[in-house]
């Protein structure tokens, strides 16, 4: 049961759920921006994932999917989608896309219009050497980033990826620690040309997490296709987190599998170390958030895993855990959102008023 007469602040059984969508993109895959066939393959691959896990009546056409733009994104997240705040996770892919696919600078064009609603993350690639360090410093300086999104499997020239526990990578992680960039999001999931199975290996997260106890390592897509290896690491390291992007849409078309997956997550990773993400625009929060909030584990699953998927736990991974990692004060935000630009634009202020009055 859920009630959402107005579209702000998701409510579940009458209780407010502050949603921080931990994984959003603003991308440009228009044909004019594509400079390598990999760029077209990449967006087609994304579209396959979109169509595979989106209810038929909610599916987008390919043209919209290539570039949906700022206005639509704001409406999809905040106007119709129950999201209170969103965290941008950039995907540079500058070998494939002229201006990049979804860079911090591109994301900033929207984030800076509504800074109270968005968190901007950066990225680094240790193969960039000194130039990469300068890039990271510029992002910190310009946008005060608190996190980075990393693609260890990205190909570059003769290199087929890099490892988080390499000497070059440690130099960048040290720089992150020094600059106060505490949240390291590692993408280990599907990638272009996964010729080397070790591109998906998550073992490097283990060494990096041990060596940098003050940084948080969020493994996106909960490590699929290495869910098991990821769980082993997360069970041992308190600073290793699981991002639920890709796994969350199971709630929509494979509810039993979702219950099973959550059972494993809660058993191995723990309720304080999981972060919801829609992966927008792969999937849209307006149907995904209700699907996840309404998902339940069966009695069999609760017995088998010895865990419960309670509303309190859902509130944690829907927003509270991300708030902790990104120093967001939820009560302060609710007060601010009673009358910010987004709330005025979509008529959402009342809901935040009720929320704080409670």
């Amino acid at each position: 049961m859920c009630y959402h007469d107005t579209q702000a602040m998701y409510t579940h059984n009458g209780e407010d759920v502050f949603v921080i969508d931990g994984h959003i993109h603003l991308w440009d895959a228009t044909e004019e921006n594509i400079i390598h066939e990999g760029g077209e393959q990449f967006i087609q691959c994304f579209y396959d994932y979109h169509a595979a896990f989106t209810p038929e009546e909610e599916q987008w056409d390919m043209d919209t999917y290539r570039q949906y733009g700022k206005e639509r994104m704001v409406r999809d997240l905040f106007g119709d989608g129950y999201v209170d705040m969103g965290i941008f996770q950039p995907t540079y892919l500058t070998d494939f896309y002229d201006e990049g696919f979804n860079t911090t600078d591109q994301n900033a064009r929207l984030a800076e219009e509504y800074p109270e609603r968005f968190v901007l993350n950066g990225s680094f690639d240790p193969r960039d050497g000194d130039e990469g360090i300068e890039h990271l410093e510029r992002l910190k300086d310009e946008y005060d980033i608190q996190g980075v999104k990393l693609y260890t499997a990205e190909w570059r020239g003769d290199s087929k990826g890099w490892r988080l526990d390499s000497e070059e990578s440690f130099r960048f992680l040290e720089k992150c620690a020094e600059l106060g960039i505490e949240n390291i999001h590692a993408h280990k999931g599907p990638t272009i040309r996964p010729l080397n199975r070790d591109a998906f290996d998550v073992a490097d997260v283990d060494d990096a997490a041990t060596s940098f106890p003050d940084l948080n390592f969020i493994v996106e897509h909960v490590g699929y296709p290495r869910l098991d290896d990821f769980c082993h690491i997360a069970a041992q390291e308190t600073n290793v987190y699981g991002g639920l992007a890709v796994a969350a849409p199971f709630a929509q078309n494979r509810p039993r599998k979702f219950g099973n997956m959550m059972g494993e997550m809660l058993f191995w990773v723990g309720e304080d170390n999981l972060l919801f993400g829609s992966d927008y625009a792969l999937w849209e929060p307006d149907w995904l958030i209700p699907a996840v909030m309404n998902a339940e584990m069966t009695q069999d699953q609760r017995d088998e895993f010895g865990v419960e998927l309670t509303p309190e736990i859902k509130k944690k991974f829907m927003g509270e855990n991300a708030a902790r990692l990104y120093d967001i004060d939820i009560e302060e935000k609710k007060a601010q959102f009673q009358d910010d630009e987004i709330s005025r634009e979509f008529g959402l202020g009342d809901r935040y008023e009720e929320a704080t009055a409670d």
Partner: protein, 265 residues
């Protein structure tokens, strides 16, 4: 299982009395597995077409995404080639992988009998190393089902942990296996399939070679401890191996359904 693949083209123009039986080809294909999902490519509806022309067989297959690991696609393509070639009456086998980003290279490589390493010179991992890793994961996942069946039959952790290959009679009945306990003084029947599936994979990974080998092992292949706590830990770990495969299967099935219009139920 077993909805008909709408994409499958049955070759109506085939000779009325072909030398090679279509069902026999399907039966051979059923032995080819998706190495990551540990499931038959026939069950998974990857087989797109079977064309039989006298003794010449052409098998077309399609994968859930164009980005499926080339190494996995290669294993399936060579598996198809080898299984169908072994059928009596077959003169030649042609395998065609379509809608895959490396479809052409894999199709050519398999039909010309090339090695994976020569087709994909820039791949670091040899295909056999990848296969072994996946087989070991599949072995561990199958152990979960086998151990669950034994527990349901009433065996306790110590009995399960100390079982050897010779304690299990897989030929006891068509659907039943017999497990001998207490130095042969007690025999318990259990469903055959989870045990036979497990033993098959345990042999393939080299875990079971001699008659005295312990039947079950942890993820690393080390024999199980009989004490309930460590037994439970390995049991949960094996469940996780199942969950990994099932989660990945969920992703693949959804992609296959959406991209290729194939629905498995």
């Amino acid at each position: 299982m077993g909805t008909t693949n709408p994409a499958e083209r049955t070759d109506e123009s085939a000779p009325s009395d072909p030398l090679v039986d279509r069902e026999a080809v399907r039966e051979r294909l059923d032995r080819v597995h998706d190495p990551e999902l540990d499931r038959s490519i026939v069950d998974l509806e990857y087989v797109d077409s079977i064309e039989i022309d006298g003794g010449d067989v052409t098998v077309g297959f399609v994968l859930p995404t164009a980005w499926c690991s080339p190494a996995f696609a290669w294993m399936m393509a060579t598996g198809i080639h080898d299984e169908v070639s072994a059928l009596s009456g077959v003169d030649s086998v042609r395998v065609e992988l379509t809608d895959h980003m490396h479809g052409e290279e894999i199709t050519r490589g398999v039909n010309e009998g090339l090695s994976f390493e020569s087709v994909f010179e820039d791949a670091d991992d040899g295909v056999e190393a990848v296969r072994r890793k996946l087989d070991e994961k599949a072995r561990f996942a199958r152990q979960y089902e086998a151990v669950q069946a034994l527990q349901e039959a009433g065996l306790d952790p110590e009995q399960i942990a100390t079982l050897t290959v010779t304690d299990v009679d897989l030929g006891f009945g068509p659907d039943a296996a017999a497990v001998t306990l207490r130095n042969g003084t007690l025999s318990v029947t259990v469903p055959r399939e989870p045990l036979s599936e497990y033993v098959e994979k345990a042999r393939a990974t080299g875990l079971l070679t001699g008659a005295d080998d312990r039947l079950f092992a942890d993820r690393e292949g080390e024999p199980l401890d009989a004490d309930p706590e460590s037994f439970e830990a390995v049991y949960r770990d094996a469940r996780l191996a199942v969950s990994n495969i099932e989660g990945q299967a969920t992703i693949c099935e959804s992609l296959h359904e959406s991209r290729n219009g194939v629905s498995l139920d």
